[in-house]
């Protein structure tokens, strides 16, 4: 038998931070949207806002345009700081592009 040993070419990954802890409940929470304004987000996100507000008493869902929108803006540090300083308990990021 011939054995051929070679490198896995995918390199290594380095996990440097953990995903945010989940909320125990959405009742009475403050939820935000970070939208790239693409892919029918202008229809889907208002629908989600309406559903959350109907299903969870006391939930506050911020308007879709509360934070900067667009692929070029939603990933920058300024937007992240705005989200963090807004006091939201969770954000929904959409839509993938």
């Amino acid at each position: 038998m011939v054995t051929l040993e070679f490198y896995d070419p995918s390199g290594t990954l380095e996990v440097t931070q953990q995903h945010a802890p989940r909320l125990a409940s959405l009742e009475g929470r403050r939820i935000g949207f970070v939208s790239n304004e693409q892919w029918q987000a202008y229809r889907m996100l208002p629908m989600l806002k309406e559903m959350l507000e109907a299903d969870f008493p006391g939930v506050e869902v911020l308007p879709v345009d509360t934070f900067p929108q667009g692929n070029a803006l939603i990933g920058n540090e300024e937007t992240a700081a705005l989200v963090k300083n807004s006091g939201v308990d969770a954000v929904i990021i959409a839509n993938a592009a």
């Binding site: 011939v2 040993e5 629908m47 070029a72």
Partner: protein, 465 residues
């Protein structure tokens, strides 16, 4: 098709475990006029993503690369199994690969001027840790040689520059591919093509194919740009070898500067790369067909080039201020004839910039202003006031390179999607001359007698010339 792979790459690139709380739908839901009632039907998934979801992937840390192993009844059988293993793990490009054995990778690493564990960066969007060794593994798989490694490493450094935009370009639907322009004597020393067929393939000057293929393997295997999974490149382009070529510095007309000098300020004789992202290529038949004078022939050709450039390439908005709308390749014989009748690099760029401007009524007809209005760069957004609208902020944005065969009929336009043009100096190890000698010996063994000159004692510059 969905964006799950793109999303996993994105979160992985941020240093998170490569998964996320996602609710996915078929692509048809994201088109104008679609039925979005499935969002309502699956609202619980959104709620659970905010409350119950947990990452299933354990924390891990960067470490040494993993070794794989196959057994076969013969070397041929083992090689076949190795290729099958690479392909089934989605680590290939569909063509046969050299398994990156320790022996082969160690051989490639003779071309490194940096330690094998030196971290160049994290390859976006997946964020795979990219070391000198990672590059050597890719180059080994791509059929490369040690003397190619310095060019690949410089190209990877440029690619990973945070200003390059590669984190988004890797995943975007337009499928931009890196174009690596090499200047300096190293191009000839490693047999990188600047002449006929410089965009490849060329068995006489094979370096560009291996270097470009290795870069592509890194983009996919380490960066996660797997078609339809990690990159939404709808059509893809140049996906086997990218585009790696040398400027024909000997073909530059007197007084013309190298691309590396003009764009990056590198002194003549400096080995360097310049990385541009392009989305497509267009051949332009620029030569006249009848009894044109040299002046008419040049001017007609310039108009034809400008006419090709005068298109609402909205991907190029990303580089409107600092990047480039594309690369115009002039064959050396064309550059020399144009220089003889008074054209300069500046006057050529000025002409192309001025005459590729697009009347705003044509922009409006194409719906182009909407894309300008949402651009992140305020200078680009302000450009909407210009009529005719220039395809880039200033003539110097246009990359003009002298390369290609000694034939006057065509020019070549590689349209850009390039937020910046990144340059890097190529560093070679002290033993580089020895590597070139070894390469020459290998060529002699295969009947390439021009390599004898090197071994007969001609200095490298003479040999390369």
């Amino acid at each position: 098709m969905d964006f799950v792979g793109v999303m996993k790459n994105a979160v992985s690139g941020l240093g998170l475990a490569p998964d996320a709380a996602m609710v996915t739908f078929p692509i048809g839901m994201f088109l104008p006029g679609s039925d979005i009632t499935p969002v309502r039907a699956r609202k619980r998934e959104f709620y659970e993503g905010l409350t119950r979801w947990q990452s299933t992937l354990a924390r891990n840390a960067a470490g040494a690369a993993t070794m794989l192993s196959v057994e076969g009844a013969s070397h041929e059988d083992a090689l076949n199994k190795a290729n099958n293993l690479l392909i089934t793990n989605l680590w290939g490009d569909g063509l046969p690969l050299w398994p990156a054995t320790r022996e082969r990778v160690d051989w490639i690493l003779r071309g490194a001027a940096l330690p094998r564990t030196h971290v160049i960066g994290k390859f976006p969007p997946r964020g795979g840790v990219t070391t000198v060794e990672t590059c050597a593994v890719a180059l080994a798989m791509a059929g490369g040689r040690p003397e190619y490694l310095p060019v690949l490493i410089a190209a990877v450094e440029a690619f990973l520059d945070t200003e390059s935009g590669s984190d988004q370009l890797q995943a975007t639907s337009g499928g931009p591919f890196p174009v690596v322009i090499v200047n300096g004597p190293i191009a000839k020393e490693i047999r990188l093509n600047s002449g006929f067929g410089c965009l490849g393939p060329d068995p006489q000057r094979p370096a560009g194919a291996s270097i470009g293929r290795a870069l592509r393997l890194l983009q996919q295997n380490v960066g996660g740009a797997l078609p339809g999974v990690g990159t939404m490149a709808i059509f893809g382009a140049m996906r086997y070898t990218n585009a790696v070529f040398a400027e024909d510095e000997d073909g530059l007309p007197p007084g013309w500067q190298t691309h590396a000098r003009q764009r990056h300020g590198y002194a003549p004789g400096t080995n360097s790369v310049s990385v541009v992202f392009a989305t497509g290529v267009t051949n332009i038949r620029r030569r006249g067909a009848k009894k044109e004078t040299p002046e008419e022939d040049a001017l007609n050709g310039m108009w034809r080039m400008a006419d090709f450039m005068r298109a609402p390439n909205l991907a190029a908005l990303a580089g409107w201020e600092k990047g480039t709308p594309g690369i115009m390749m002039l064959a050396p014989i064309v550059a020399r004839r144009m220089a003889e009748i008074g054209w300069t690099q500046d006057s050529i760029r000025d002409f192309l910039w001025k005459n590729s401007r697009i009347p705003m009524d044509q922009m409006r007809r194409a719906g182009a202003p909407a894309w300008i209005e949402i651009d992140a760069n305020p200078l680009t957004r302000d450009s909407i006031k210009l009529d005719p609208w220039p395809i880039c902020m200033k003539p110097d944005n246009i990359v003009l390179v002298v390369a290609g065969g000694g034939h006057p009929t065509h020019s070549y336009w590689l349209q850009g999607h390039s937020p910046t043009v990144q340059g890097r100096v190529i560093r070679v190890p002290e033993t580089f001359d020895g590597l070139l000698a070894n390469a020459a010996r290998a060529r002699i063994e295969h009947g390439d007698l021009t390599a004898v000159l090197f071994l007969q004692g001609y200095r490298r510059a003479e040999f390369a010339a």
